[in-house]
C-alpha cells in the first residue's frame, strides 16, 4: 500500500477537469432543482448542445471559435425554450421523464449515421480546440503548486474553467438575493401561492430553465475542450445523474453546494479507486473478492450507495437546509 500515491492522486483530482465539468453542470441543476424545484433530468442535453455547438461550429460550419461558443449557448437556450414551453406546466415527475427522454433523443440523434457530416456520428468530432488554445498566454512548461501542476494548455483550461465557476457562483448568488430569485424560491415552495400574487410562474420557470441550461452548456464546453473531442456516448443519462449527485452532496439550494459537491465527489471517486488499486497491489484483496478490472465498477456501486444514503438520511447534503427542500410531487 502506497499511501503517498493515493494522497497525491486524490489531491490532483480536487481541481481536475472532471470536477470542473461536474461543478458547472451541477450549478445549472442547482438553479433548476435547488432554487426553482424543476426536476430536470436532462442536464446532459444542455451539455451536449454546448459541446456540439463548439465542435460542429468549428469543424462543420467553419465558424471562428468565439462564434461557436455563442452558437453553443444559443443552442442551449433554444433547447430550454423547446423543452420549457410545453412541459413546464407538467408535474415534477412528468417533467423528469420528458427531460431525460429529450436528452436521450439528442444523444441518439447526434450519434446517428444520418448526421455523420454534422456531428461525426458515433465516432464524434475532434480538431476544434485550436481556437481555444491559441488564446493561451502561457508559454510551454509546467504551472501550479506541487501536486497541482499542469502543462500549459491544461493549466489554461482549468484556470479559465474555474474562473467561470467562480463567476457563475457569483452570478447565482446575486440573482438569488434579488427579488427575481425570491420568486423562484417561492415557486419551489408553493407554486399556487406565487401565482395568486400575480406572478407569471411559467415565465419565471422558463427563465430559470434557460439560465441553468446555459450553465449546462458551459459544462459541455469544458467537457469538449478537456477531451479535445466530442463523443456522443459520453453524453448519456449517467452524466446528469452524476451531476445531480454532486449537487445533492454539496447541498441543493446553496450557492456553493454544487461546487463543493463536485470537488468532493470527484476526489472521493479518485480516492476510492486509488485505494482499491493500491490494496490490490499490496495483495490485501484476493481475486475471488474483487478483480482489478472491476475497480471502476466498484466506484459506481459506491456512487449509488452514496446517492441513496444521502437522499434517505441527509437530503439537504452537507450545507443545505432541510426545511428548504421539502419537495413533493403530489
Amino acid at each position: 500500500m502506497d499511501f503517498a500515491v493515493i494522497l497525491e492522486n486524490t489531491v490532483r483530482a480536487l481541481f481536475n477537469a472532471e470536477a470542473l465539468i461536474l461543478a458547472l453542470a451541477a450549478i445549472g441543476l442547482n438553479v433548476h432543482f435547488g432554487y426553482t424545484g424543476l426536476l430536470n433530468f436532462g442536464q446532459v442535453g444542455f451539455a451536449a448542445m454546448g459541446a456540439y455547438g463548439i465542435a460542429s461550429g468549428v469543424t462543420y460550419l467553419g465558424l471562428p471559435f468565439g462564434v461557436s461558443l455563442l452558437l453553443g449557448i444559443g443552442l442551449a437556450i433554444l433547447l430550454a425554450l423547446l423543452l420549457g414551453i410545453p412541459t413546464l406546466r407538467l408535474r415534477a415527475d412528468y417533467l423528469a421523464i420528458v427531460t431525460i427522454a429529450s436528452s436521450e433523443v439528442i444523444r441518439l440523434t447526434a450519434r446517428s449515421a444520418t448526421l455523420r457530416e454534422q456531428t461525426g456520428g458515433s465516432s464524434g468530432l475532434t480538431g476544434f480546440t485550436q481556437g481555444f488554445y491559441s488564446l493561451n498566454p502561457f508559454e510551454r512548461g509546467s504551472y501550479g503548486i506541487g501536486w497541482l501542476s499542469y502543462d500549459a494548455n491544461r493549466f489554461f483550461l482549468l484556470l479559465v474553467g474555474w474562473t467561470l465557476v467562480v463567476l457563475s457562483c457569483l452570478l447565482v448568488f446575486m440573482l438569488m438575493r434579488s427579488p427575481w430569485g425570491r420568486v423562484l424560491r417561492g415557486i419551489r415552495e408553493d407554486e399556487d401561492a406565487v401565482r395568486s400574487l400575480g406572478k407569471n410562474v411559467v415565465g419565471y420557470k422558463m427563465q430559470s430553465l434557460v439560465l441553468g441550461g446555459i450553465f449546462g452548456a458551459f459544462a459541455g464546453f469544458a467537457f469538449a475542450l478537456a477531451n479535445s473531442s466530442v463523443q456522443p456516448d459520453n453524453y448519456g443519462t449517467q452524466f446528469t445523474f452524476l451531476a445531480f449527485t454532486c449537487m445533492i452532496l454539496g447541498g441543493a439550494g446553496r450557492v456553493l453546494g454544487p461546487v463543493v459537491g463536485a470537488i468532493l465527489f470527484q476526489s472521493s471517486l479518485v480516492f476510492v479507486e486509488n485505494f482499491l488499486v493500491q490494496a490490490k497491489r499490496g495483495g490485501y484483496i484476493p481475486d475471488a473478492v474483487l478483480d482489478s478490472s472491476d475497480i471502476g465498477a466498484v466506484r459506481f456501486v459506491l456512487v449509488g450507495v452514496a446517492l441513496m444514503a444521502l437522499m434517505i438520511f441527509r437530503p439537504q447534503g452537507l450545507f443545505g437546509d432541510k426545511k428548504e427542500l421539502a419537495l413533493d410531487a403530489r
Binding site: 407538467l90 427522454a101 467537457f223 478537456a226 477531451n227 448519456g236 459506481f300 456512487v303
Partner: protein, 441 residues
C-alpha cells in the same frame, strides 16, 4: 476521462440487434465471421496467446474459406500477417494495443469467392490492452433484394407485437408500483436485467434447461421484489420520505445494481445455452423463430392472467382500489402495505420474465434493462401512469411503433421516434390514452 460515462454498448436498438431473418427471398446471403470480442480476457478462450490480437473467421455462405491471407496494418505499415486455417479461422498477433486496419488480400481468395461490398477488404479494428479485436469480412454475392415497404411491413408487425408484449411485462409492474405507491422507479430496468442474469446463472452456470431456469428465476425475482419493498421502500414510506427523494433513491439503487451486475457478469453480452440459434418458420409472408412464437404465446397468456387477476380476484380489486386512492382504500379496510408488497412481487416477477424474453432476442448483458427503461416509461405514460391496462396498451403501441417506424426512418433512430411520441403525449394528453383526468399534474 475517468468518471464520466462511456457505455459499452450503443443504447437500445432492440430490433436492430435481432437476428436477421433468412427467408427464401433473403436467403443465401453471405456470411461471415465474427468472433469473440473478448474484453481483456483473451486468455480464457485461447491458450496460445496472451498478447493483443485480431481474430475472425472467414466464411462464404456458411463454408469456411481456407488459405486466404489477412494482414494487419498500423499507420499504413504491415505489422502482422496470417492465413486462415481449415475452419476459416485466423489470428493476427499484434505488437501492442491500438488502432489497426485488418486487410484481406483478395488475390488469395478462391476464384468463386468475392467480397460482398467494394472496399470490404479493409476493416478498422481497435484493440484494447491485453484484449483482442474482431475483424469481420463480408463475403459472397449480395443477393439481398431490396424489399419494398409493403413487403417488410408484416414482418415488422410481428416483431413489433413481440417487442410490445415483452415491454408490457416490464411496464405493468412499473405502472402498478407507481399507481399504488407513487414511486417513479428508475431501477425497474435493473429488475429486468436481474431477471435475465438470474436465468443465465441457473441455465449456464448451473446447467439447467432454460425453461426450468426461467421458472426458478421468476420465483427468485418475485422474492427479490418483496425483499426490496420490505427492506427499502416500505421503511422509506414509513419515514415519510418525499416522492422525489424516493425517485432519486431509485436512481441510486439502479447504479448499485447495474454495476454489481457488471462486476459479477462482466461487460460482454452472452447467450443462453438453449434456443440461441434457430431457423425461422415461414408463416405466410413472415418468418418467425420458434422461440419468438413461444415468447408471444406465453406473454399473451401471462398478460391475460394478470388482467383477469386484476379484474376478478379480491386482491386485484384491492390493488385497483389502492391505485385509485390509497387513503380511501385504507379506510375501507384494505391492508395497503400488503397490497403494495404483493404488487412488488408480481411486478418484479413479470419484469424477470420480460428480462428472460428480452435476453433471448438480445443476449444477456448488464445494460439490458437500462436500455429499454425509457421505452418502458414511454409505454406507461402513453397508457396513463398508474393503470395496468394502460401500460399494456402503451407497451404494444410503443413496440409496434419502434418496429414499424423503421419503414420510414433509419433503424438507429427508432428509439428516438418512440421517445418523441412520449414527449408529445405528455404534452398533449398527460393522462395518457386510458388515464383519467384527475391524474393530470
Amino acid at each position: 476521462m475517468g468518471i464520466l460515462p462511456r457505455p459499452a454498448h450503443p443504447s437500445a436498438a432492440p430490433a436492430a440487434t435481432r437476428r436477421p431473418r433468412t427467408t427464401a427471398r433473403t436467403a443465401a446471403l453471405v456470411v461471415t465471421a465474427l468472433v469473440l470480442v473478448l474484453f481483456g480476457g483473451a486468455s480464457a478462450a485461447s491458450a496460445v496467446s496472451s498478447g493483443e490480437s485480431i481474430r475472425g473467421t472467414l466464411a462464404n455462405a456458411g463454408e469456411p474459406v481456407e488459405g486466404a491471407t489477412i494482414s494487419a496494418e498500423q499507420d499504413g505499415e504491415e505489422v502482422a500477417s496470417a492465413e486462415t486455417d481449415e475452419s476459416g479461422r485466423f489470428e493476427l498477433e499484434l505488437p501492442g494495443p491500438g488502432d489497426y486496419t485488418a486487410v484481406l488480400d483478395t488475390a488469395t481468395l478462391p476464384d468463386d469467392v468475392d467480397l460482398r461490398r467494394k472496399g470490404g477488404d479493409r476493416v478498422e479494428v481497435t484493440v484494447r490492452p491485453g484484449g483482442s479485436g474482431a475483424a469481420l469480412f463480408l463475403l459472397g454475392e449480395n443477393t439481398r433484394t431490396a424489399a419494398t415497404r409493403l413487403d417488410r411491413a408484416p414482418q415488422l408487425l410481428v416483431g413489433g407485437l413481440q417487442f410490445g408484449l415483452v415491454l408490457a411485462m416490464g411496464s405493468i409492474g412499473l405502472s402498478l408500483i407507481f399507481g399504488t405507491t407513487g414511486l417513479t422507479n428508475f431501477a425497474h430496468g435493473e429488475l429486468i436485467t436481474g431477471g435475465a442474469i438470474l436465468a443465465y446463472v441457473f441455465n449456464v452456470s448451473l446447467g439447467l434447461n432454460l425453461i426450468p431456469a426461467a421458472i426458478i428465476a421468476v420465483v427468485v425475482g418475485g422474492a427479490a421484489g418483496a425483499a426490496l419493498d420490505r427492506g427499502l421502500w416500505r421503511p422509506l414510506r414509513r419515514r415519510g420520505t418525499g416522492l422525489i427523494a424516493m425517485l432519486v433513491v431509485s436512481i441510486g439503487l439502479a447504479f448499485v445494481l447495474r454495476y454489481l451486475y457488471l462486476i459479477y457478469f462482466g461487460g460482454s453480452a452472452r447467450s443462453y445455452a438453449q434456443y440461441a440459434t434457430q431457423r425461422p418458420i415461414d408463416v405466410g409472408p413472415v418468418g418467425i423463430l420458434p422461440r419468438d412464437m413461444v415468447i408471444m404465446v406465453i406473454s399473451v397468456l401471462v398478460l391475460v392472467l394478470v388482467g383477469l387477476g386484476l379484474q376478478r380476484t379480491r386482491f386485484g380489486k384491492a390493488t385497483r382500489a389502492v391505485a385509485d386512492n390509497p387513503s380511501l382504500a385504507a379506510s375501507s379496510g384494505i391492508d395497503v402495505d400488503r397490497v403494495v408488497s404483493i404488487v412488488w412481487v408480481f411486478g418484479a416477477a413479470l419484469a424477470t420474465l420480460g428480462g428472460v424474453f428480452l435476453a433471448l432476442s438480445q443476449q444477456v448483458g448488464y445494460q439490458l434493462g437500462q436500455n429499454i427503461l425509457l421505452l418502458l416509461f414511454a409505454a406507461v405514460v402513453l397508457g396513463g401512469l398508474g393503470t395496468a391496462y394502460g401500460a399494456l396498451v402503451g407497451a404494444l403501441v410503443i413496440g409496434l411503433f419502434t418496429q414499424l417506424s423503421t419503414l420510414f426512418i433509419a433503424a438507429e433512430l427508432q428509439v428516438v421516434g418512440a421517445l418523441i411520441v412520449l414527449i408529445v403525449v405528455l404534452i398533449v394528453r398527460p393522462q395518457g390514452i386510458l388515464g383519467t383526468q384527475e391524474r393530470v399534474g
